[in-house]
Subunit: 425 residues, 2 copies
Amino acid sequence: MSLVVCKFGGTSVASPERIKMVANKLIAKKKAGDDVVAVVSAMGKTTDELVGLANALNTNPPARELDRLLSTGEQVSMTLLAMALEAQGYHAMSFTGRQAGIRTDGTHNKAKIVSVRSDRIMETVDKGIIPVIAGFQGIDDNDDMTTLGRGGSDTTAVAVAWGIKADVCEIYSDVEGVFTADPRVCPRAKKLDQISYDDMLELAGAGAGVLQMRAVEFARKWNVVIHSRSAFSDAEGTYIKEAPDMEEAVITGIAHDTSEVKVTIRGVPDMSGVAAKLFSALASNQVSVDMIIQNVSESGITDISFTCPGGDLPRARETVERIVPTINARTYIVDEDIAKVSLVGTGMKSSPGVAAKAFETLGQNDINILAISTSPIRLSVVVDAAQAAQAVQCLHSAFGLDSDSVFVETQLSAEEIAAKMNKGR
Amino acid sequence: MSLVVCKFGGTSVASPERIKMVANKLIAKKKAGDDVVAVVSAMGKTTDELVGLANALNTNPPARELDRLLSTGEQVSMTLLAMALEAQGYHAMSFTGRQAGIRTDGTHNKAKIVSVRSDRIMETVDKGIIPVIAGFQGIDDNDDMTTLGRGGSDTTAVAVAWGIKADVCEIYSDVEGVFTADPRVCPRAKKLDQISYDDMLELAGAGAGVLQMRAVEFARKWNVVIHSRSAFSDAEGTYIKEAPDMEEAVITGIAHDTSEVKVTIRGVPDMSGVAAKLFSALASNQVSVDMIIQNVSESGITDISFTCPGGDLPRARETVERIVPTINARTYIVDEDIAKVSLVGTGMKSSPGVAAKAFETLGQNDINILAISTSPIRLSVVVDAAQAAQAVQCLHSAFGLDSDSVFVETQLSAEEIAAKMNKGR
């Protein structure tokens, strides 16, 4: 008998029918003898619709009001799930973030959890009642509703699991768990039975969309075991935990990310201070620069490239256009058709040959490397977007990750999954 | 300079455009030097939609969960109104029932207000910020959201007005105020400048839909001045207040109500205990009996009729069908096409000729009286529904209530107004 937190995202509660499925999942666990605590996101597109209403009245809505408005989405889904459980004869009670004891700082729209008081939740569990908690929200010292920003519901689930000392925090989504690569791109990808927090963070940071980084960071800090699994099957998913018994794979998985863009400034005088001028201007204009590439100087003139998220491109263009004349550069070009492919593995630290093997593999496959960046447990290369799938596949084979069998798709189409992976709270 | 509570119903905030209109009304008051506090209902059909969602999951949803679900409607409208005010450069903050300090008992779905703590609202007003309060909701001793049931938002407004010692509680709706009769039925009806709480309560109880009785009862108890007025014009409406200087009109107004039905049990043995058996059975089956008519007995056999709300008819039928054989009555018939027409006036108490004059007037107009009931300040008659308008008009003339001019309709159609008058919270 375990105490389990079960978090369901927006697609899992998108309709009354899906909410009934979620209720059945919780009931099955209860019948198996576990105590369960549910955490839910808002139904399907609710949040987008609420943002639309707000923007119809105020193009820059006050953060406090927006938080309260958005928080209604989870209040709806939590009460509906409680009703669905009651309809099946299982006692359930819904709780807002405030009622669940989730206190945050006052940074509306991206509040940070400062404490979790679990008394009321545990009293409820002890009475045999299933608590259903609104994800994504908390209360600040002004007694005002706050929201936690992107990944908020996953973070709520991990925080609650920590607060009530749950055995595991199950995060249900439309994918079966964490894979060695995206199965839609690499059909021989394998589901991992377990992965360390560090590897998971690097994979998530490099584009793997299964879990929100913030929730994983919270889990690592407080040592909460996460079980990432599918809402649409009963198969075991992937455990994310600190595991001393875990064999340190050189490469745990390969992530790819097509959301970045590359900007190249041409004909830059190779003088000290020029790069500083460019990058401090980008930073002060809120452009998140990821990689930087500076070519070898020829006769005092060079090119500087950098990559940044596609969403930052308008600000990047604006900055670069302003800076190019002031540094006497010739011009700039933007390449949106790039992909970042990242090898992640804690074991990489003690295996110096990874980079060489990766470059060799890509070279043999005629894949041109446009940029490189590394961390102690990650190696990322930028390639043409058109070659991204091929790059993932050949690296996946070269590092011995291929499964014997080809992954079987879930019932959702790739487009549906892709759409879901790119949002969620 | 006054302190004014302004309450806007669901139709007034049904769309972003209407919410902007409401914001402009509040701003105009603010510009005129008043301090304003807004109270809002949920947007348009929101509540019905939420009930529909709940019923899709549970045909008998738990009251606590339903309250939380329904309360999200007002959370949405209050934040949107605050955003609309901010967009125009006026500071505003929304407050849930809990944040506004409205404490209730724990009777979910029809909670009663037990106290109002106005500190936070008044601090907000004192800072020059417009508070926007969610109507219809409060918090109970378990820290759970409650809703106040029908007429709840009007009651919230009156309770807040009392709590902050406002000069007046303005209740905006689609009608211009309280009329001597329904202008759609009686074109010579006049808008009243003021009316006493007692007269207003009798009119509301007799079918006049402008204000919720419960809010008027609260206002009478705590002496809160209500100003019932139109959300779609700037004209003064009707003040509801205790006014010693008010001339006690014999008849203040005439209400009509077509929602009741009449049930007649035929061939009842005229024996003691028979009526008691019938009406106690009806009472225990939650049928709200309004009027009772027993015909003169002929040879020990009589007829008994009663009226009740149309919504109680299924339960009334079920009861009567069960009782008819046990009291050896012959049969029963149901008449749904009836109307109750009520004369209301505090001055009636000291004018004994009202009933005689009313019966005479109806007789001269060939209107048959099916039943009669009275209170010290009300005389109600039941007539055929087809003659209801004629009855209202001839009584309106006979008691000198006719206006010189014919009422000009608001921009809403009669159907729209009728639909609105029959609901609202």
